[in-house]
Amino acid sequence: MPRSRPRRRVILVVDDELDVLLPLADLLEKLMPNVKVYAAQSADEALLFLAQNTVDLVITDLRMPGLDGEHLLGVLNALRTRPASILMTGFPEPGTMFRCFNENRVGAIVTKPFDAVVMADTATRLLEARPVTGGVAA
């Protein structure tokens, strides 16, 4: 009997900087097999997407106008199927890092400017540690 293909893993990248958001989403899809990457330009846009779809991994920038990355991570914790998460930041402050690791259970913090391969490796590692659940509605 042929085995059914595993569901494509879903990554949501959140950054208000389009110049980072679009190439990063593009690169992750090129570097990671069997992954579908969606892009959101704000935390609010990300929350709308998360309300309708199951996401395996959220990669978010820390500093964004409106709801920032740290708050978005906090909201992720309240979801029934909490996605894994990576926080991107231009300058990691120890206090923020502590809160994100201990309170928001972020999987990794990646400092900008980052190597695309390092980001893809980190994302792969976090996805491998996570069981496959749900899917994308659209």
Binding site: L24, K30, F91, E93, P113, D115
Partner: protein, 102 residues
């Protein structure tokens, strides 16, 4: 340390404030420079992956961009002030050897 502020302590407070503000300004600058640097580095990576049809001129252009992005990255990294945790860390002292032969 308690008690009335001495003249030395009073005069060093504004200097500490100024140094702290300067550190914060540089921290902000490093943060703001790292975002456009990320955008450039990601675009370069994308271009490098699709360079099968690149002309020698394109390759030279990419090489120049690569080299200068790396140069700016090094400068920005050297600007970064120590984090508060690093500032608070005690100075490293040479450890005494367990089996002393002194």
């Amino acid at each position: 340390m308690k008690g009335p502020p001495t003249r030395a302590r009073r005069s060093s407070a504004p200097r500490r404030d100024a140094a702290s503000k300067e550190r914060e300004r540089i921290r902000q600058l490093v943060h703001d420079l790292n975002t456009p640097l990320s955008a450039l580095a990601l675009q370069l990576f994308l271009r490098r992956r699709s360079q099968a049809d690149a002309t020698p001129q394109d390759l030279r252009f990419l090489e120049i961009l690569d080299r200068n992005v790396e140069r700016i990255r090094t400068i920005v990294a050297s600007l970064a002030p120590p984090t508060p945790a690093a500032e608070a860390a005690p100075p490293i002292r040479p450890r005494r050897r367990a089996t002393s032969t002194w």
